[in-house]
Structures are given as structure tokens and as C-alpha cells.
């Protein structure tokens, strides 16, 4: 049945048929070939599996004199940790830093459980001291609000309330009076000249959990009491249920490419990505203080809109630390203020941040969206990872980070601002309470 001639057309249908039993010689060589193939396969498998493992053990043995500090957490702080790590080992060759971008939540959990030496977090961990964890701010980051408007090359003037209205769905067009009232005359007329398609605001937001979303939603909540989304790292994950002019993105790099591609789009992007944004129509906004329209205090002093520079960002950091007791308010909220250096502060949601009747202009102003990045460490040895020696090395690394690591050659790569004296003082206080 099987040895007939096959005049079937080309193809491999039904190829599993028996052929005539061959001679003993052929059988034996077939077995040898088969055995060789299997042997090669097993050897390769063994090399791949075992070799890799032993290689790893060998490498760690040769570098076992190097202590390892493990860090995980915030993706905002991750680039800076990536820069700090190798440079710290150049400075102190006995210690190496391992860093990972698992997210702020994972960083907080890691610090609380003591599974990592450092947990990086975008948000201040409340009840930290109760759980034996210290919040150590190591960097000042900020956020920019980008937009894509053809024909407008200047910086738009916006503030927290306008942003809250935009992301809350109350303002849906760039042509809206509220927005136009805040602009300079040139920009005002340009906004009026936008086509209908360009006028429609497209909200570009982070769908995944993100410290940037946390910052931005905190700003919106501080500015408008009725903002529909709570401030959290996933504040806008449900925004598409309510609003239709939205575009979701995963990651800051996608926010950048989104705002570059969508005309009429608005996006909040971390400052580390400022140098990756390109496009003739894409620019970032100057943000003013958070005046609340509800109070009827909407005085549009046109030179009160502040661009993010090292000075203005530092001013905001200091504003929070000098005007608020961080033990009462927590450091995270205090940063999202904006406003003026010497003004009294109104820290209730919807309160607007600062009192706009007391004015300061231009470069002395404080850029509103500023955040401290925290390294959470345990205050005492805990478990096997946070041993006494590792804790000591961790503190030493952080001391280096906030002093030599605050050098512009590192910070400029991520767009962060050097720590201010107030923050440094707070850090030393925290280090003093480490018992090791």
C-alpha cells in the first residue's frame, strides 16, 4: 500500500508513511546520526542552562568584595539612579548600586518590607516613621504642560484652574474665553485663528500608573474643588468613561509622541523628557498661580505666568518647605502650589494655593508643578537585605547623592534642579535618625 509510485502533485500532504526497512548498515548509521543530534542538543542545553548559572556564580564570586545596594521604585527617579549608580561606584569602588524601575508603589512596598535597601517614590509616604521608614528627598523634579497648536510658537499662559477645567471637561476648545483671556494679545488672536479641527482640545493622558499623573491630578484638585478625578497615580484611568476627546498613552515617551502628532492636543510630561520633544507647533505652557474662578478672583496679571526654569522650580520647592510644616501637611502636597514666594498659603483643595492679591512677578515666581523625589530607607536594620552594613552603605550613598551627586553634569541629563538648602537640612535631619 505504501510503495507504489506517487504521481501526486507537489506538496507535503501525508508524508508520514513507512518506507522499506533498510539494511543493517543504514540502520546503524541512522542511529549514530540520531544519537549525535541528540547529544549535541543535550550538550547545548546543558551549556545554556548550567553554564549560565555557573558563569553568574563565578562573576559574583570575583566581585564579591563589592557590596550591593539594591534600589527599586519610581520611574521618574530611575534615570537619575541610572546615572548615579556607575558614577558612585567610580567614587567608591566598594559599593555598587542596582536600580530598577518598578514604580512608586513597588518602591514603597519594598521599603516597608525591607526587601530592598532603597525604595524610590514620587509621593511622600505618610505614616512612614510609624513603620520604621524615612522619607529622604533626593531630587527636585517638575512637570511641563505641552500643547500642539499650529501657528502658535509662543508659550501659552495657563494655570491650575484652567488645566483642571480642561481635564475635567469643562473647557473643550482652545478658543474658549477663559483661555483667551489669559493670553497676550498676539496669542489671543492666534487662538482665534485656529481652524475648528485644531480648536478641539484632545486630552492626552497617562493610562498606566504614573507619578506624573499623581502630580498633575494633585494640581487640578488643589485648583478646582469639583475636579472629577481624585489625585492618585491612576487618576485618569477612568477619564474615557466621562469624556470623549481623550487619547491614552503608556509612558512618558508616548506622551511626547502623542502631543507631537495630535494637533490641538495637550499633555503633561515630566521634565526629563523636555529635550526629546520636537516639532514646530509643540511648546510648553507658562503656568500662573492657582487663582480660583469661583472666588471671583480671576485677575489676569499677564506677567504672573511663570516659565519653568531652575530658579522658579527652586522657588516653589522652598515655598513649600518654608511656609508649611511638612510634618503636618506632608511634603508632596506642599509642592503643588505655585504662586509667590512670600504669600500666605492656602492648602485646602480648591483653595488655589496662594493668595493672588499679594503679587510678585517674573523670575521670582514659583513654578507650580514641582515635586520632591523620595528615597525611602529604613531607620534601623531590618531583615536580611537591610543589614547594618548595608544600611550604613545606603546612607553613605545618599549623602553622596545629595552632595556630589547634585552636580549639574548629572542633573542636567534629567532636567532636575539641585536640592535647596532647606531640603538638604531636612535630609540631614532624617539621616540623623538612622540608628546604625
Amino acid at each position: 500500500m505504501s510503495a507504489q509510485n506517487r504521481t501526486t502533485p507537489t506538496g507535503t500532504m501525508g508524508t508520514t508513511n513507512a518506507e522499506e526497512l533498510s539494511s543493517a548498515v543504514r540502520r546503524r548509521s541512522g542511529m549514530v546520526g540520531m544519537g549525535v543530534a541528540i547529544a549535541i542538543a543535550i550538550v547545548l542545553l546543558a551549556i545554556g542552562i548550567g553554564g549560565g548559572y555557573f558563569l553568574g556564580v563565578y562573576v559574583t564570586k570575583t566581585s564579591s568584595s563589592v557590596t550591593q545596594i539594591t534600589e527599586t521604585g519610581s520611574t521618574l527617579l530611575y534615570p537619575l539612579m541610572q546615572i548615579w549608580g556607575p558614577n558612585y561606584t567610580k567614587f567608591n569602588s566598594a559599593v555598587s548600586l542596582s536600580t530598577a524601575p518598578s514604580g512608586s508603589g513597588a518602591g514603597q512596598t519594598a521599603a516597608l518590607k525591607g526587601t530592598f535597601n532603597i525604595g524610590a517614590s514620587d509621593a511622600y509616604l505618610v505614616n512612614a516613621t510609624k513603620n520604621g521608614v524615612l522619607n529622604v528627598p533626593v531630587a527636585i523634579s517638575s512637570q511641563l504642560v505641552y500643547y500642539n497648536l499650529p501657528g502658535i510658537t509662543q508659550h501659552l499662559n495657563l494655570n491650575g484652574t484652567l488645566l483642571a477645567y480642561i481635564y475635567g471637561g469643562k473647557i473643550t476648545s482652545w478658543n474658549d474665553t477663559l483661555i483667551r483671556d489669559a493670553q497676550s494679545p498676539a496669542v489671543d488672536s492666534n487662538l482665534g485663528n485656529l481652524t475648528t479641527a485644531e480648536q478641539k482640545i484632545t486630552l492626552i493622558y497617562r493610562y498606566d500608573s504614573s507619578g506624573d499623573t499623581f502630580l498633575f491630578s494633585t494640581l487640578c484638585n488643589m485648583s478646582w474643588g469639583k475636579f472629577p478625578f481624585t489625585n492618585s497615580t491612576s487618576a485618569f484611568s477612568g477619564i474615557a468613561t466621562k469624556l470623549s476627546n481623550t487619547q491614552s498613552e503608556t509612558g512618558n515617551s508616548e506622551m511626547v509622541s502623542g502631543v507631537e502628532a495630535i494637533e490641538g492636543g495637550i499633555a503633561y510630561i515630566g521634565i526629563s523628557y523636555k529635550h526629546t520633544v520636537s516639532g514646530a507647533n509643540v511648546n510648553y505652557a507658562a503656568l500662573g498661580d492657582n487663582t480660583t474662578l469661583a472666588n471671583g478672583n480671576y485677575s489676569v496679571a499677564k506677567d504672573d505666568f511663570i516659565l519653568p526654569t531652575n530658579t522658579t522650580i527652586s522657588n516653589d520647592a522652598n515655598l513649600g518647605l518654608t511656609h508649611l510644616s511638612y510634618k503636618t501637611f506632608g511634603l508632596a502636597d506642599s509642592m503643588i502650589l505655585g504662586g509667590f514666594r512670600n504669600s500666605p498659603v492656602n492648602n485646602t483643595p480648591g483653595g488655589g494655593g496662594t493668595d493672588p492679591t499679594v503679587g510678585e512677578t517674573g523670575t521670582n515666581g514659583a513654578y507650580p508643578i514641582v515635586n520632591l523625589e523620595y528615597s525611602l530607607i529604613r531607620s534601623a536594620p531590618y531583615g536580611s537585605t537591610v543589614s547594618a552594613g548595608a544600611l550604613k552603605d545606603t546612607v553613605e550613598f545618599l549623602q553622596w547623592a545629595i552632595s556630589l551627586g547634585n552636580d549639574p553634569q548629572y542633573l542636567s541629563q534629567v532636567g532636575f534642579v539641585p536640592l535647596t538648602t532647606e531640603v538638604l537640612g531636612y535630609d540631614q535631619q532624617e539621616f540623623a535618625s538612622v540608628s546604625v
Partner: protein
């Protein structure tokens, strides 16, 4: 006989070609047309492969040197791929050993010992397990290994999660391999007085080993390309792990962490280098699978049927 019966012999394929009626010509033409159109569908599969490989390769190859592949330097920020490669090997080593330990014996047991109904249910379960989404496996791994066992984000959490992910493939392959041992071989073994264990160890495994090996390689190829379970259970750390419980990294986690990096082209490049290495590794595993299974096919045809 009023009309001659045209069907005086069996039709042959040549009749098809010489029949000039319209219907037949249409049938032949349609068949020929299909013969041209369907192979074009290969392009649908091949073009994206070429596009992706070009996308990754054009960005990775210019900077991918041997030093980059083997460097484990602690002071260079970029172009240090030795660490992720070693980590990946280590995780795959533990995961494969575990998957084989869990899946191989179960597959053999299902094929050889269990009554058919029970075996059917267990096979269904194994297939269901194979169909579990990778993110659900990641959640399971996170809860069980990271939280409940308290291992934290570490090498062993990732390896165990991956092992559980790979187990059903090894299980299924072992099962298939042993059930497709030809009946007369099995009967001859039992008829000669072999017990089940003797049959398995001495005869069945020789025949089934190539297929099992194929299955293990396939499971490894699947495991090395998984992202979600690893990202949720292992931090994409940058050091060579010094113990099973220290943080580790994985090539896919490295890609995911770095593809949108703000630190410039050097760091984004790391993602593409890792992607290229991954594609090459999976390609090699596929080639291995083909070699082993082709040999196995030939041998089976030649000897046992």
C-alpha cells in the same frame, strides 16, 4: 445501444487537463489562480518579520560588539549587556529545571499509567493551564512568591513564575511523546515481560526523548520571550545577582524599562540590543527544535513503522 456510455474507464488526472468544457476549464483555472494567490499570504507573515528584524537590527547592530555582550562592568552606564544575559540564563536555568521536574513526570504518568477518562481530564487541565494569560500568571506569581512566601522582587520569584508558565508545555509534550510511541513497540516491551518502569526508562524514553527535547526547547523559547510575569515579579535590576533571592533582570524586562528612556539614544539603544539578542536566542532555539524533530521524523519513518 442508443448512445455510447462515455464512462468506460476510470478518470485520470490527464482527463482533467484535456477536458475542454467551460466548467472544467474554470475549475482548473481557479485552482491555478488559488495556487498563485495563497502563497502570497506568506508575505503577510514574512513582511512584518522582516520589518521588525530590520527595525531592531538597524538600531542594535551598529553598537553591538563582543565587549558589549560580555561586559559586566559596574562603572559603565550603558552597553553593559553581560549582566542581563547572565541573569536571563540564570532565571531560565532555574525555570527550565523546575518546569521539567514538574511537567515531565506528570506527562509520562498521564500517558502510561492513568485510566483514559482521568487522563483526559488532566490533559484538559494542562491545556487550560497552557492557555492562561501571562498577566494572570504574573499576578499569581506576585501573590504567591513575592508576597506570601516573602521572597520579594527577586530572581527566584521570577524563575518560579516562569517555571509554572512553562510547565504545561513540557507536560503536554511528554504526554504526546509517550502516547505516540508506536503500539507494537509498547506491546512488544510488555509482552517481553517488562514492567512499566522498565519500559519507560529503557525503551519509551529512547523513542520519546527527541520529542520531549523539542518540547523543552519550545517551552524555553516561550519562556524567554515573556514580559508580564517577569516585570511583575522581578525588578529589572542592573547587577549580577549574588543569590537566588537578590533582584535580577531579564532581557524582556530590560527592553520594557528602557525603550522610552529619557536619557538619550545610548540608553534607548540598550533596549534594542536586548531585543536583538532575544530574537537571535529564540531563532537558535527554533533551529534546534527543527534539527531534533527532523532527525526524529526520519528515524521514525525508517525504523518503526
Amino acid at each position: 445501444m442508443a448512445t455510447a456510455n462515455p464512462m468506460t474507464r476510470m478518470l485520470t488526472p490527464e482527463d482533467l487537463l484535456t477536458d475542454r468544457s467551460l466548467r472544467t476549464r474554470w475549475r482548473i483555472g481557479f485552482d491555478r489562480a488559488v495556487g498563485w494567490v495563497l502563497p502570497l499570504l506568506f508575505g503577510v507573515a514574512i513582511l512584518p518579520i522582516l520589518a521588525v528584524v530590520y527595525y531592531v537590527g538597524s538600531r542594535a547592530l551598529p553598537t553591538l560588539t563582543v565587549t558589549v555582550l560580555t561586559s559586566t562592568s559596574l562603572t559603565a552606564g550603558v552597553d553593559v549587556l553581560g549582566v542581563p544575559i547572565i541573569c536571563t540564563f540564570e532565571i531560565m536555568a532555574v525555570a527550565t529545571l523546575l518546569a521539567v521536574a514538574l511537567g515531565l513526570f506528570g506527562g509520562i504518568a498521564t500517558a502510561e499509567f492513568l485510566p483514559d477518562r482521568l487522563a483526559g481530564w488532566i490533559r484538559t487541565t494542562a491545556n487550560m493551564l497552557a492557555g492562561t494569560p501571562s498577566v494572570v500568571m504574573g499576578y499569581f506569581g506576585y501573590f504567591t512568591f513575592v508576597l506570601y512566601f516573602g521572597w520579594g522582587l527577586s530572581l527566584i520569584s521570577g524563575a518560579f513564575t516562569l517555571a509554572f508558565f512553562m510547565t504545561p508545555y513540557v507536560f503536554r509534550t511528554a504526554d504526546l511523546a509517550f502516547t505516540s510511541v508506536p503500539r507494537h513497540v509498547r506491546e512488544a516491551a510488555y509482552g517481553s515481560g517488562a514492567g512499566p518502569l522498565q519500559y519507560i526508562l529503557r525503551i519509551g524514553s529512547r523513542i520519546a526523548l527527541p520529542q520531549i527535547l523539542t518540547g523543552v526547547f519550545l517551552a524555553m523559547a516561550i519562556g524567554v520571550g515573556e514580559t508580564a510575569p517577569i516585570v511583575l515579579t522581578t525588578a529589572a535590576a542592573t547587577i549580577v545577582p549574588h543569590s537566588l533571592f537578590s533582584p535580577a533582570t531579564f532581557l524582556t524586562a530590560l527592553i520594557f524599562a528602557n525603550y522610552g528612556s529619557s536619557l538619550g539614544a545610548g540608553y534607548v539603544n540598550v533596549a534594542f540590543q536586548a531585543a536583538f539578542i532575544l530574537i537571535v536566542v529564540v531563532m537558535l532555539l527554533n533551529v534546534l527544535v527543527r534539527i531534533v524533530s527532523a532527525r526524529y521524523q526520519k528515524k521514525l519513518e525508517g525504523l518503526y513503522l
